[in-house]
Each structure stands twice: as structure tokens, then as C-alpha cells.
């Protein structure tokens, strides 16, 4: 048995965590506020859509996924004061007006024959962008100082991957004709263009270097500027 009084390194050889991270406290809080805003919009619309979709299996999955995103919103809400934002509502805002336009378009389908559009917006556009932004944050923030955010990101990502798979499988089972492929594709293209203008769920810089088209070529993203 090893001598319990022998000095050991504070970090084991397999522990490769490092201090430096891309985000300051303020930048991390700002992103977390954007995450909470988008998670709220998502759980609200999933809850609202439950009554409007006739497909029983979809109805039940939306009810389940509604809670996943509400829980993520709660995680981010609780993280904000830990990032020195004592009024979480102040940072619970969309990244920009373009993201609001995206959410408006995503939540617009209502009729019972538009389940394909509802699912396409969430599972083929929004959730992939959430996975991208969360992964970028996870891989770029300080693994020591921002460990609580990392823990929440990992919980959220586990749900996002599961929900994305559920949603994609529901879509594949609903899309049964070439016309429906066109329908889903057209809606996806429209929403993806709106998301492109928004720059992602945390705005330009959601996944790193990304010039804001409105600011001209080469403009640094907020994330870049903060790093």
C-alpha cells in the first residue's frame, strides 16, 4: 500500500484540466442568459403544440421533451447568480433580433396538418444549433474555473442528443412521400437562413469565429473579443 503521508501531485497524471478558458465571467453569464432565453421559448412552444398535433406518439414525446428544456432553463436560471448576475431576468434575453425572428417563424405552425413543419424547425434546425453552441462552450471554457457550467452543459447535451434522435425518427416516420421531403426541406431552408442571420443561439460567435454580416467582414465576435 502507498504511504498515505507521501506527497502527491494535486492533479493526477490523467487529469488534463487547464486553468485558461475562452470566456470571462461576464461572457459566460451573457451566453448562459441567451441559453435560458432559448430554452424557455422551446419548452413553451413544445407545451403549446401538444394540443395541436393529432399523432399520439408525437403528442407524448413533445410533452416529455417540454420538460427537458424547462429543466435546462432552470439550470441556467440558477447558474446566473453564481456568475454575478443577481437579476437573472436582465440577461434572459435573445442574442439579437434575428434570433427572435427565427423563433417567431419556428413557432408559427399551428394547424394539425403541420406536424412536419413543427418537428423540422425544432429537431432539424434549433436543436442541432443548440448542440453546436453548447459543445463550443463546453470545449472552450475553463475546465477548472467554470466547472459548474460544464456540468450543466453536459446534462443539457445528453438530453439534446436524445431528443434530437427522437425528433429525427419521428420525422422520418412522418415523411413518406417526395412532396413531404420537399415540404420539410423548404421549411428547414427558410429557418436555417434565419438562424444564419442570427449567428446561432448565442448570436454571432456561438461556435467561435464568426463574422457578423451586419458589422462587415472580419468583425470579431463577442466571444472572440472576450477571449
Amino acid at each position: 500500500m502507498a504511504d498515505p503521508r507521501a506527497p502527491r501531485a494535486p492533479f493526477a497524471p490523467w487529469d488534463r484540466r487547464e486553468l485558461p478558458g475562452r470566456f470571462s465571467v461576464e461572457e459566460s453569464a451573457k451566453r448562459v442568459g441567451h441559453y435560458k432565453w432559448i430554452e424557455m421559448r422551446l419548452f413553451e412552444v413544445l407545451g403549446g403544440w401538444v394540443a395541436t398535433v393529432p399523432e399520439l406518439d408525437v403528442k407524448m414525446r413533445l410533452g416529455t421533451h417540454c420538460y427537458h428544456h424547462a429543466w435546462h432553463a432552470e439550470l441556467w436560471h440558477k447558474r446566473l447568480p453564481e456568475l454575478r448576475e443577481m437579476n437573472p431576468e436582465r440577461l434572459t434575453v435573445p442574442a439579437n433580433d434575428e434570433l427572435v425572428a427565427f423563433v417567431d417563424a419556428m413557432t408559427e405552425p399551428e394547424a394539425p396538418d403541420r406536424t412536419i413543419e413543427k418537428l423540422t424547425g425544432v429537431y432539424r434546425v434549433l436543436i442541432p444549433h443548440k448542440i453546436a453552441a453548447y459543445t463550443f462552450h463546453l470545449n472552450n471554457t475553463s475546465t477548472i474555473t467554470d466547472a459548474p457550467t460544464i456540468r450543466s452543459l453536459k446534462f443539457a447535451l445528453a438530453d439534446e442528443f436524445e431528443d434530437w434522435r427522437d425528433g429525427e425518427m419521428m420525422l422520418q416516420s412522418l415523411i413518406t412521400t417526395p412532396e413531404e421531403v420537399e415540404r420539410a426541406g423548404a421549411h428547414q431552408t427558410r429557418l436555417a437562413q434565419l438562424m444564419l442571420a442570427a449567428g446561432g443561439i448565442a448570436g454571432h460567435g456561438s461556435i467561435g469565429a464568426d463574422a457578423d454580416p451586419a458589422a462587415g467582414n472580419g468583425a470579431a465576435s463577442t466571444a472572440e473579443a472576450a477571449s
Binding site: 407545451g47 394540443a51 395541436t52 399520439l56 410533452g63 424547462a70 429543466w71 432553463a73 405552425p109
Partner: protein, 289 residues
Amino acid sequence: MKRQLPVEELARDERFVRVDTVERLSDPRSPRGRRGREGGGEKPPRGGRRITPDMPHGPDAARGMMHGIFVGEIQALEGAGRTCWDFDAGPADDQVPFELKLDMARQCWDEARHVEISCKLNEHMGTGIGEFSESTILYEAACNPDPVLRLTGVNRALEGLAIDVFNTMREFGMAGGDPVLEFCEDWMLADEVTHVKMGSDWLRRLTAKDPDRRTRALEFQRVVDKLFSYGGLRGDDDDSLVRLARRFRELAGFEPDELDEIGALSREAADERRAAMDRQRSRLAERAS
């Protein structure tokens, strides 16, 4: 998507058959429907008859009740989901606290599981989706534009009824030696106690400084509770078709005097129903003579 989805717009596939409550209760496979069809005979007790597995039509009646639970859970899921969408988070009277929205989202997940469980139990009992009809009275309680009244209608009246119904079905499973039914109903019962407690807690918090609003909410609950007694079929009497589950309701925050009041409302509704039936019989007798 608009806010406040009217009941007519609830989306269903083609298997579902929507009828009003009177039509649903007149289904000849239900205890009341059978009495209506067979006519005459022994006058039923005030609260109808409790379903037992050894009754000649007991299994059919239980299948009907299970299908009713299934469609009721769909509507409860839809009601909780609409509360997530219909109200913004905020302090105004037409808004709700962020935490209440989170609770409603949690309730969505719970109700979605209940729909799943009910589907499996229907299959277990030999019932197909749509074999019995659906009335939308439960969702109607979830349409109130005032969030406090909606919360009271859904989380105190509707979910309270769910406690009574699940307990009735759990006891039916115990009496019939059906451990699957007993097991599932017991789990759903635990969730419903949580939902009613949630409703009781939020009602207290949201109306702490507004006694008038609390009075209005409780009055709305009384109206809904009377409707949900289905003419006294849900009541506090020993042989009520669906018996008020006092112990579980107390766990969920109901005071004993509130339960007495629900029992009294059910008896009142039963008396009104019997009086209406007597008048109907007299009219028919007059026409026949």
C-alpha cells in the same frame, strides 16, 4: 401560434370519437348507461354503484373507466402544455411566475407518462384506442384565461378527480387480483398527489395578498368540482362509483372541510340528477297515458 386554444381545436387522429358528457355516460357498457337502457328495476343509490370485478358488467365498466382515464390524461397533458405557452413569465395578473411554468412543464412529462401507462393498461384490459368515446369536459377546465383560475380548475379540481379515479381503479385491481393494474394506478396516484399539492401551494402563494382573487378561484373550483362529480357519480358515499379519496387528497393539501364540501356538492349534483330523471319519467308516463 395563437394563445388560448379552444376545445374544438384539440387535435386527434381518426380513432377518437368525441361526444358530450351525457352521451359518454349513456354508453350502455357503463353502469348508468346500462340502467338507462334496461330501465326500471331497482332504484340505484344516490352515487351510482361501485364497480367490482364480480359484477356481471364490472369488467366492461372498468374498461370504459380505463379508456376514460386515457383520454383524460391526454387532455391533462394538453392543459399543462397550454399553460406553458399561454402565459408569459412575470408578476402581472395575466402572467405567471417562471417557477410555475417549470412546474407545468414537469406536469407535461408526468401526464405524457400517464398517457403511455394508460395505453398499455388499455391493451392489458383488452381495449383498443377509440373503443369508448371521449368528452372534452376536462380540457375545458384548462381553458380559463385567468392563470389562477386555470390552475385551480386543473391542479385542484381535475387532478383531484384523477386522485379519486386512480384510487378507485387501484382498488378494482386489488379486488380483482390484477397486480399490473394495481401497480400502475398506484404510481400514477403518487404523481397526481404531487400535482394537486403543487396546485394547492401555488394557489396559496399567488393569492396571498389578494383574498378576492382566492375567493374567485375557489368559487371556480366549486363549479368545476360539481361538474366533475358527474351528477354525483364521484362522491363521498361508501358505494359511490368513484369515491372521494380523502387520505390522498389530504396528503395533497386539501383540508377536511374542503373535502366535506366536495362531498356535499356531489350529493347536491346527485339529487339534481335524480330529480331531473324523475321529471323525465313523469313526462314520458304522461305522454304514454
